[in-house]
Amino acid sequence: MKTIDAAGLHYKAFNEQVRAAVRAGEKNIHLVNVNGQRFIADAMPGDDVKITINGVPGNDLAVFMDGPTVIVNNNAEDGVGNTMNSGKVIIHGDAGDVIGYGMRGGTIHILGNVGYRIGLHMKEFETQIPVIIVGGQAHDFYGEYMAGGVQILLGLNSKKGANIAGHFTGTGMHGGVIYLRGGFEQHTLAKEAAIAPMEDADYKLIRKHLKNYCKDFNLDLEQIMERDFTKLAPPSARPYGGYYAY
């Protein structure tokens, strides 16, 4: 295990140290005194690399990341997993806005609450299917312009039936699937997203992903599954086709 101290370091110098450690074959790296350093693990390859972060990492954590597992023991800021390709990010606190923006593969697990535009334009291709699971609540524009992938919002600390996803949920959604554990008010749903029936395959999929999630945070899967889920999916893959097609 290698420990790298971020105290007082600009992100360029700091990330160069992290990168050098990975190049030298280090598989288990602890980053301490992190406070606002951006682009940690950006475009980093290595399925067997594990990076643990103590402190608040800066914007665009794991941007373009391609393999490693990143564990954050505190809150994270905006843009976690921006255009991430594969690997896993586990956040034990809250996270900011535009988490998983344009994400094309891999997994993001967040225990706490998140901000606005979570999963903005995330996408999938064949077996590359990104997954974002959030334990708390999300703000407005959850799943905006979503083109693929899976999002699960748990509302673990919310009362049964409480609105857990803000306004304008699924605006411009044209692919992928959202599962909300708990209620929401119909008028908060954008017209491009629609409630779809929950089928056996959906429960199977949720169980598969939540099993993994519960392991990361030491949670009880059966207790989480006690509450109903609502499935949101786009009724059209081209919601704006009529605007631009001749």
């Binding site: 406070n35 606002g36 608040v56 304008f168």
Partner: protein, 372 residues
């Protein structure tokens, strides 16, 4: 004082904190906090506002002035002498600092208004001061008012905010509210007068974003005597708050609903009474609606406010530790100077408000032990 007409990609960084118990600290903490977000600015503007810095002059209007040349200074001093009682004037203390080039003449005046003059002009004292600020900025070539409030001041320049703070010797001032900004100009030049904060009387505002309704807001404010002369969109928000909060006496909550009004589609689903109130507010203040992305910190004589645009197009985080409220773009900027008890992300369009305790309510606690 040079102008650079460039267009860059946008960002801007802002941070601020307030001690509700009016405990004053020097400028080191606010400089550390804003420097944590240097990545958000590009050296084309940095600035600070500080409250509680002039206790020995707390009843005087403190004018911080920028002059391009001696002529501007002479003309302004003639004007000030004719319309105000000049209690004291001196050069605003600065030190030579790497990264701050070509500074203008920077002067400070403590001013009072002669009551007889007010009476003769049938004018409210604060309106009188506002008129003076508008006149100087619009009519005296090369003279710009950096700030004009009581017991507060703005300090701004072209440069990274850390260098700006060193240049103005902020380590030698003590304030209970500190607000800071690092600029990344988007559509307007990076120049000394265009750095944030924008101020009027004791209002000061720092902004991350872009006011795309600037033209409408500017023309609207002109009808009420405000002149936008500083070539930066944020300027209109300082005047808008002065109008809504001071002249129209709206509460901060109501003023925020006017400038960051909910969408009609959201208003439609509100209970009857709220729906009616918001409909009226949007009708009356339609031209005061701020369009485009923003995160603001607004400072004033009684407190500090953080506000986001209604669809959260810029980051804003709040935190609390004891009597201190912190607001910044990024949590790390707060953690750079504090270990907060609570950190949260304010909801879009909902103001985070902290008010100073009235001076008479502050009990000075005797220290229970001496820390070594």
């Amino acid at each position: 004082m040079h102008y650079r007409f460039e267009k860059d990609m946008s960002a801007c960084g802002l941070t601020g904190f307030i001690s509700r118990n009016r405990n004053r600290v020097d400028g080191e903490a606010i400089m550390s906090s804003i420097c944590n977000m240097d990545e958000r600015s590009n050296g084309q503007g940095g600035g600070f506002a500080a409250y509680g810095i002039y206790p020995e002059h707390k009843d005087d209007y403190a004018f911080h002035m920028l002059y391009t040349d001696a002529d501007a200074k002479e003309a302004t001093e003639k004007y000030l002498d004719r319309h105000f009682l000049i209690i004291e004037d001196d050069e605003l203390p600065t030190r030579k600092t790497a990264g701050i080039v070509d500074p203008p003449l920077i002067w400070r005046y403590f001013l009072n208004v002669d009551e007889e003059v007010l009476h003769m002009n049938a004018c409210d004292e604060e309106d009188y001061v506002v008129n003076a600020v508008m006149f100087i900025n619009a009519e005296i070539p090369g003279a710009f008012v950096m700030s004009s409030g009581k017991n507060m001041g703005a300090f701004k320049a072209v440069g990274f905010p850390g260098a700006v703070g060193r240049f103005y010797k902020l380590d030698e001032y003590k304030a209970w509210t500190w607000i800071a900004h690092g600029r990344f100009p988007t559509n307007t030049p990076g120049w000394w007068g265009g750095a944030h904060p924008f101020t009027l009387l004791d209002w000061s505002i720092v902004h991350n974003g872009e006011i795309s309704s600037y033209g409408i807001n500017k023309r609207y404010l002109e009808m009420f005597g405000y002149k936008a002369t500083l070539m930066t969109d944020t300027e209109v928000t300082a005047y808008l708050f002065d109008m809504l909060l001071r002249r129209h006496k709206l509460s901060i909550e109501v003023a925020t609903m006017a400038i960051a009004a909910p969408f009609w589609s959201q208003i439609d689903h509100l209970p009857e009474e709220e729906r009616k109130a918001l409909t009226a507010l949007r009708q009356v203040y339609g031209s005061g609606l701020l369009n485009g992305p923003f995160a603001f910190i607004l400072g004033h004589k009684d407190g500090m406010v953080g506000i986001n645009d209604r669809i959260k197009l810029r980051p804003l985080v709040a935190a609390e530790k004891g009597d201190i409220l912190y607001i910044a773009n990024e949590e790390a900027a707060i953690r750079e100077i504090a270990s907060p008890d609570r950190v949260w992300m304010p909801t879009a369009g909902e103001p985070v408000i902290a008010n100073l305790k009235p001076e008479k309510d502050i009990v000075k606690e005797a220290p229970s032990c001496i820390k070594v």
